[in-house]
């Protein structure tokens, strides 16, 4: 049997302890041990962004992140993103028709939550740059970018 190590981290606001094997990725732990399958596996190569989660508030590809390094950190997955800003992002993407197969969608929502927490009013260029680690094969990105611009403008109007 492979040797395992206990890791304790906050996952979606709740402290969780899980056993990890050697270099096991955070993605595998989330999907297989914590049954949070909203974090998608698209490549395991760090190329597609489907597995994006927030680690201490910053977007990372969980497939390339070694689970042991998450000790003591705060992890947010799509299942935990129900704050007001994330809800605005989700609503905007739903209403703009920015979802087709939806496989990229959780990773994109996580990435955008990370972006909008740090930048209140990103312009289109910055939005597109931020999304360049998240491949969407279906939408051509236009309706997703429109949705984010809508959130930014709505936010600006509300402030």
């Amino acid at each position: 049997m492979t040797e395992t190590h206990p890791v304790t981290a906050t996952v979606n606001g709740r402290e969780e302890t899980f056993e990890v094997e050697g270099l096991e990725s955070l993605m595998d732990v989330l999907r297989d041990k914590l049954h949070l399958s909203g974090t998608k596996e698209g490549c395991r190569e760090g190329e597609c962004g489907a597995c994006t989660v927030l680690l201490d508030g910053k977007p990372v590809n969980s497939c390339g992140y070694i689970a042991r390094a998450a000790e003591g950190r705060e992890i947010e997955t799509i299942e935990g993103l129900n704050d007001a800003l994330s809800m605005r992002i989700k609503t905007a993407i739903v209403e703009a028709g920015g979802i087709q197969c939806g496989y990229c969608t959780p990773g994109i929502v996580v990435m955008l939550s990370g972006l909008l927490r740090r930048h209140a009013a990103p312009d289109e260029r910055l939005i597109r740059q931020a999304l360049s680690g998240n491949i969407c094969r279906c939408t051509g990105y236009a309706q997703i970018v429109d949705a984010v611009l809508g959130v930014v403008q709505g936010k600006a109007a509300a402030e």
Binding site: T39, E95, Q100, G102, I135, R137
Partner: protein
Amino acid sequence: MSHIGSSAIRSDAWSKVNGETVYAYDYKEAGMLYGVLLRSPYAAGKLLRCDLAKARAMPGVRAAIGAADMPPTLAGWSIRDTPLFARDRVRYVGEPIAAIAADSLAEARAAATAIELEIEPGTPLIDPEAAARPDAPLLHPDWKDYVPTAGSDFPRNGNIAAECSADPGGVDAIFDAAPLVVEDLFTTQRQYQAYMEPKSAVAIYRAGRYIIHSGHQFPFNLRDRAAQFLGVATTDVRVIGHAIGGGFGGKLDYSVEPHAAALSKAASGRPVKIANSRVEDLATANCRESTIVKMRSAVDGDGNILARDVEAYMDNGAYTGEMSYMASFPFHCGAINYRVGKFRAIGKLVYTNTPPTGAMRGVSGPAMYAALENHMDHIAAKLGADRREYRLRHLVGDGDTLPNGQVLANTKLLRRGFDEIEKIVPWRGAAKDRVPYKGRGLAAAIWLVNPLPGALSMKLEEDGTLSVITAATDNGTGALAAGVPQIIAETLGIRPEQVRISDPDTDVAAWDSGSQGGRTTQTIGLAAIEGANQLRAKILETAGQLLQVDAGTLTIDDGKIRIEGETKSRMALSEVAMAATFGGASIQGTGGAALPAVPFNPGCANGLLFPFFASPTYHVHYAEVEVSPVSGNIDVTRYVVAQDVGRVINSACVEGQIQGAVAQSIGMTLYESMRFADNGRLIENNLQFYRLPLAVDIPKVEYVTMELDNIEGPFGAKGSGEAPILLPPAVIASAVADAIGKPICKIPVTPEDVLEALDGDGF
């Protein structure tokens, strides 16, 4: 309020955005084993030995199987040329040789490395044109014995897996006498569908049958294929579909499902999951084929095209799948859009020692239109004519025919497409308007909707909502998540949210031909109208009895029964449903549809397996590019689409299809390079090298939808998901050529190609 043309929110949007949707890749069963495939490391060779004894003894292993454990049957969509596991020779890198199921993935992988394999490597045939030569060694020495799946054989010969040809005679004489002959050679590479969810399956052998869970675009085709490979009756396989993380044609045929099924049987019925890694998926996907297209035109002094001659080679890979149908496309698209005189064409689908190709969105269209439209540019240039004006002068009109003899109607939409684009961005083709390293391209297409049949049933639930049982699939387009519910809601007088659509299950639902060729909204939409009308009649009849009025005076409005002329509703649908259900006659309806066959000339070509363009649609695209003379980089700065959609059912979904297909096709045109080394190994073998278009690469597409009454679709709708992928290679290659003043005859167009074309001689 009409539900047609709205931007109704798709039924699966919230579960997807919340991460709740369970895709096939996420699907698990209790007691599940993990399966892996041992794949050939060589592109060609004799398989001398495959000994599984050591692997079987490895820890955690529950089953290990290879060709020796399977019936000696061959399978295939159009011709039965494919073994489940390589038997005595291997034909491509990645071909399955054996499979292992174990308690964990790590144990399965470890066991796969313990399989003792002896292969005597051979010399692979990689280039289709070389493989087509009569003296080339045969990939399939037994090709003559292969059985065509549909019964009747088609033209094929040795390494030529299928051939479609037409020769009206007299073409050479016209070329000999013509004042101008323009000749081109175009090449395109393969394109990987690159759906974000890699392929996977969970299979269970239980009670003498195989149950396959998969995220598949065409469950009934998978049922057929799995039954062929496993050597069982069709209905001994049951396919249950789950959410599909993108398909684009890549999930229409089998992949790992029959292997998982065979493993489950060998493991005494334990469920077995096989999930491709991305690298495996990319290496073995049934990509859009690469092509070599030679196109010549004989032109008279006025610029009329007197004759055209097309010779095309299409890479079949090692096994055929459905590719034999695609050999018809050089014929269909070699002389389309614009009038030509005599037309000779030959399309050769050629076996090579590479992974089998297949249908990707738009099938062979992007390659064929790239050739046709850039060839038109070259003719116009030789004549000193303006590219747009030359096209309009030779554009087909109503009463003209396609090469197959099919008579065209509604071609005013094609002309209108040019006008719509002109309104958005006036054409400036004159030499004086040229800006160095900026270019424009303009091109047209005529396309089809896949006409194959589909059927469904529906029932009114006791709460007045509706459940639809269908094996049709939503691969992401929204055809079932938005379009069909809107069509039913409109027909029945309820809201789209009150319509629920089942996941596909071949034991339960009637036959459907899969999400391909833009058919789902159109054909399943027609079937849904038929079913909804039946339901409506039964609902009104029951309500009439309950209200003791003539059913003919009743109508359904927002889920309630109303007497025509009155404003107040009399009864909720739930009351009707309860009364009917507990009266012993649940309210149910069924519907089925296929698009009408189009008259064509059966003598037009030999081997025309794909005979006609059903429900034709018309398209014009325009692109602007900026090219860096220093780096060779190409930026698509503007992209405009005019598209015949029949009628928009869901505006957000139609926009999504246009934006997404253009992006995918820009990928094919500029970024997605897929090449094989001489030893048959893939060069761009992961997503770092096989470069997909990113948010920073893709402009927002400007588009106009063109609507026209059409009786062949629900409320007039035609399939809209496929056609917008056809033209980006054509218009972008044309725009790059315009920008650098050199012809571009290759897709993808890379920065190296640009620099090479410019070499020592920029503007």
